[in-house]
């Protein structure tokens, strides 16, 4: 994409940010979700409530946190509660409209693996594990997932289901008794996948400008379902790009300036 003035990563972050509303109460994962959620807050959703599992409610960080419990989150929040309170009253209590997650591996029903590659008892790669994700995925009103698309990440079969999207598809999620609606979009650096209304299989419904459907198929480890009418994402507007780049530059500067080692 030589004639574009933005990267695939920026397009992904902007596309994800646009899915959040001004009245969203968003339970934010660290990394890509946190970048997109704060971009939303600094552009079209100034009143969005960002909740981090470490305890800050209504965090308004000036720079992005490196860890899920950076001081910047606590000092800019409306309030900071204990970790049990976050999970018990705020998430399980049904007060989160949008759970925003990243993933190491995902399957066609938007189930997520962040636990292990290979057998659990003899892992090829031990990943960090569940954290808050299983209950965010099950309890939030709806779920957004953001990750870069590749055959390694978008796999035919997960080695481990850490967090449930639509389980085996269809009405499996309802049969499991999970309160939230589940994943409404998987936003990647190539496009956007949304669940088929009936089978719940994640279906390519938008590509980012310059990305072909075949390129998305090639980066998917299962025969990707493609909508009849695939939309093309609106490119990042100058204001979105400017705010995102400022945020990342501020963050880089702040974190480079810390520490003695």
């Amino acid at each position: 994409m030589p004639d574009r003035d933005y990267s695939a990563s920026e397009m992904m972050t902007v596309a994800a940010a646009r899915r959040l509303a001004n009245d969203s109460v968003c339970f934010v994962g660290i990394g890509l979700p946190s970048t997109a959620a704060n971009l939303a807050r600094l552009t079209h959703a100034p009143d969005i409530t960002l909740i981090y599992e470490s305890g800050p409610i209504g965090a308004k960080p000036d720079v992005l946190p490196l860890s899920i419990g950076d001081g910047e989150l606590a000092s800019t929040a409306d309030t900071v509660v204990s970790t049990p309170e976050i999970f018990r009253y705020w998430l399980q209590g049904g007060r989160i409209t949008t759970g925003f997650l990243g993933a190491a591996q995902i399957d066609r029903f938007a189930n997520i693996n962040t636990t292990v590659i290979g057998p659990y008892d003899d892992p090829k790669v031990r990943l960090p594990g569940a954290g808050g994700a299983p209950e965010i995925a099950s309890l939030a009103g709806e779920v957004l997932i953001i990750l870069r698309q590749s055959e390694r990440a978008f796999v035919e079969k997960l080695d481990f289901i850490t967090s449930v999207g639509y389980g085996e598809g269809g009405d499996h999620r309802q049969r499991l008794g999970l309160p939230g609606r589940g994943p409404v979009a998987v936003i990647t650096d190539l496009g956007v996948l949304t669940p088929d209304p009936k089978s719940r299989e994640m279906t390519l419904t938008a590509v980012h400008p310059g990305v072909t459907e075949d390129a998305v198929r090639a980066a998917t480890g299962w025969p990707l379902k493609v909508a009849n009418d695939v939309a093309v994402s609106e490119p990042p507007r100058p204001h979105e790009l400017e705010v995102l780049r400022d945020l990342l530059a501020r963050t880089e500067k702040a974190h480079a300036g810390q520490g003695a080692a």
Partner: protein
Amino acid sequence: MAEITTLREAVAGLINDGDHVAFEGFTHLIPSAAAHEVIRQGRRNLTLYRMTPDLIYDQLIGMGCASKLVFSWGGNPGVGSLHRFRDAIQKGWPVPLEIDERSHADMANSYVAGAANLPFAVMRGYAGTDLPRVNQRIKFIECPFTGEKLAAMPSLRPDVAVIHAQKADRRGNVLMWGIVGVQKEAVLASRRAIVTVEEIVDDLDAPPNAVILPRWVVDAVAVVPGGAAPSYAQGYYERDNAFYQAWDPISRERESFTAWMERHVRGTTDFEAYKRSLAAAARETVHA
């Protein structure tokens, strides 16, 4: 009843080989100095509890202090993997590490149940995930009132909780603020508690709803300024992000890890000496 003592005496008197020990602090107020002291004193066969095993657990595990880990997320926040944690799970080095793996919501709820002196915790969770398949402690029960299927987990009851806080007063009452994680619950769920603090003051001057641990639920309070580094203590110092990044190459290989631990932790007498040792190493790098 809290005794104000040294960290060395607190660890020697309150943590035994084979104990179940919870070092808590959710990215903030991580009890690093206390973990180092456990390594210095060569404790073995510990069952370690921690929601977010990060650098201090990489160190405890890599130095062979632990035989079992109860956890819900193990990584180097903002950087990547924990190499010693992975080596212990994947290769059994330096000793095999059994794991009891949960989700954050489980551990938070299970500490609450422990603090409340209940046998188990109950929550909406785990349905459809593979965690109950690999962890037999996770069960499902039916709500006796609605019939809803809910997850049940045995409460967490460690022998010892170890935390870091901002302040204690001269009688041993402890005050913390900012991101307070599960520390209060971990202390109340445990039989014994060790607290390191940034400073001891005459008067905590705390508002009525502040997070206070009364001295009679704490066994030992030790002053260790900077004792949560490389994590941060709100109001005192910032997170040392560069150290978290530096930990990745230090811990990647067994040899470099062991050499670093021998020099800076095993080879020093306390946290002050550890900090001097790190400063000396930094000067060597500058002059090299």
